[in-house]
Symmetry: C2
Subunit: 308 residues, 2 copies
DNA sequence: GCCGGTCACAAGGTCGCCTTGTACCCCTGC
DNA sequence: GCAGGGGTACAAGGCGACCTTGTGACCGGC
């Protein structure tokens, strides 16, 4: 498996059309670029570049690999932006606190496009410092002025804080690809779901609370809900349990989109339950977001997520 | 930026709950795991793991990073599967030839899920050898028995070959986020598109041919089509040109989905043009796919893509 | 109180990658 | 015809990252 750095060099060669141009772009010597490409070709067993005395061009296989690598580096850039935001050592400019679901699945993309937008205006983007926690903690941090802005999901916008909807999410019922429910023709009813032992998050999690609230709304406050088959503290653990065959789960669509696209999990239609929820930015103080970085951030995100 | 190997180690720690378990899983010494995690924490400036005498657990930041890393490694796995398929040195078991669009955007996912499905049955998956070329070349290779199965897009299923639809694609008009067309209220009509100088692929490309065919179908065979602003030989180059402000382009939705999600490009609605096209598996010989690997592959892909 | 499990510290070896210096090739223009 | 600029290849040497082995300390269960 080639390293990310080697792939970046390959992309630079593709862009520049020569090893030399790539070397200048990356900031190393021409020989280093040549050696890295060679070692990558040896490692993968695939010829990627044809070298000639008047430049280097990609082979047909190289064109395809560049496309794949470009996707990979995009995702790597999101991770990098996220890590930069988690780094606490700098003087904080903009303290963001976000629920786990939002931090895991949306924030990296927001950060990347925020920086890209800033770069386009030839400005430096804000230095974002991120804290990820559960929804209650996020609200508490905003209240105590430990965060300039928070992002939470769910309808419970606290009254003492201001908020703005910046996107939507929905919970969805998922099972492993070989679960009997994948062969159902009818959607699962609320009553049936309540009678099923699910793999669930721990009590207090926003995802679990939202499901319970929706079930009680559909079946009445006195409805008997089957206790979970197991309660785990992270989405990743829940997903792993479902993949191990522990049973169905109800998770955010954001969390399972990749697994559904990769056909590791399957979505099962539900009937009679409203599991949509709004994603909100929350902040303290006056009813409009304060001028400056906080307002810019919220406006940027709302613009990003609205058309989607 | 942490290396992929380091992220794999981190995921192993998250799964196993201890450095030692991760070391066994990855196949290195416990000290190596400890050092790698430490160096990663130093590199990123983010504490990821809390170590204790009875195991190691992720910090809150670590949980989020693990989720991000997991996405990254999924994409890396697709690249790896693709590279393995491009490697020609093995004895070929199953020779696949695919059009550029399919090879770039769909095949890695197919390969990963094919191997996963095989592993689940405790079998070794087929050794796929991939050739990526334009549609005409793919068809020619299947005809000459240089490929066991081909994948092409577009309606032109050659009559002397057998085929089966395994998915759908559509071309879409895209512009840079700051292009005037992003502020239009009405869709762009076929006539208007024909009068626009687009950034385009080279003549002979399936994408370009499909657009021309759709325009002629809408406007009549004698319609005057404005020549492209520029003609480039890869989708990547076209995308780069659009991002550089060279003008609008018509590209496969598969090719621009990431850019649209990342808000680098914007889709512009079209009116009066049918730009859908079918993705087909093609093969030689009898009307049913021959038994064995070719049939398994086609069935697997059709099952994957149908519900989407 | 022993034992299995966990993690940390230290020393030494290997290997990958980068740099510098040099040589060759191709095309262009005078 | 020949110089010059841009391109790539080969070779030697240095630095640093990573891994291994050996050893010590801490925690909890039987």
């Amino acid at each position: 498996m080639p390293e990310l750095g080697a792939l970046e060099v390959l992309l630079a060669v593709a862009r520049g059309g020569s090893l030399n141009a790539a070397a200048r772009e990356v900031g190393v010597s021409q020989q280093a670029v040549s050696a890295r490409i060679s070692s990558m070709e040896a490692q993968t067993g695939v010829p990627l570049v044809t070298r000639s005395a008047r430049g280097s061009a990609l082979t047909p296989a190289g064109v395809v690999v560049v496309e794949w690598a470009s996707r990979l580096l995009d995702v790597a850039g999101e991770l990098d932006a996220g890590l930069a935001a988690l780094r606490q050592d700098r003087r904080t400019r903009l303290r963001v606190s976000a629920s786990l679901t939002i931090a895991e699945h949306l924030l990296p993309g927001w950060l990347v496009s925020l920086q890209a937008a800033a770069r386009q205006r030839a400005q430096a983007g804000p230095e974002v410092v991120l804290t990820a926690a559960n929804s209650d903690t996020v609200i508490e941090q905003v209240r105590r002025d430990q965060a300039d802005v928070g992002f939470v999901e769910g309808p419970q916008a606290p009254r003492d804080l201001r908020s703005r909807v910046v996107g939507r999410d929905a919970l969805t019922l998922v099972v492993r690809h070989d679960h009997p429910w994948t062969r159902r023709r009818r959607p699962v009813a609320a009553q049936e779901l309540a009678a099923t032992a699910l793999v669930s998050r721990e009590p207090g999690s926003g995802t679990r609370d939202a499901l319970v609230a929706a079930l009680r709304a559909a079946l009445g406050p006195g409805a008997v809900l089957t206790p979970p088959a197991m309660a785990l503290s992270t989405t990743t653990a829940v997903r792993a349990a479902v993949l191990a065959g522990a049973g169905p789960a109800v998770l955010s669509e954001l969390a399972v989109a990749d697994d559904i696209a990769g056909h590791r999990l399957r979505r099962v239609p539900l009937d009679g339950l409203d599991l949509h929820r709004e994603l909100r930015a929350i902040w303290r103080g006056p009813s409009r977001p304060p001028a400056g970085a906080v307002r810019d951030l919220i406006a940027h995100i709302a613009l990003r997520e609205r058309p989607a």
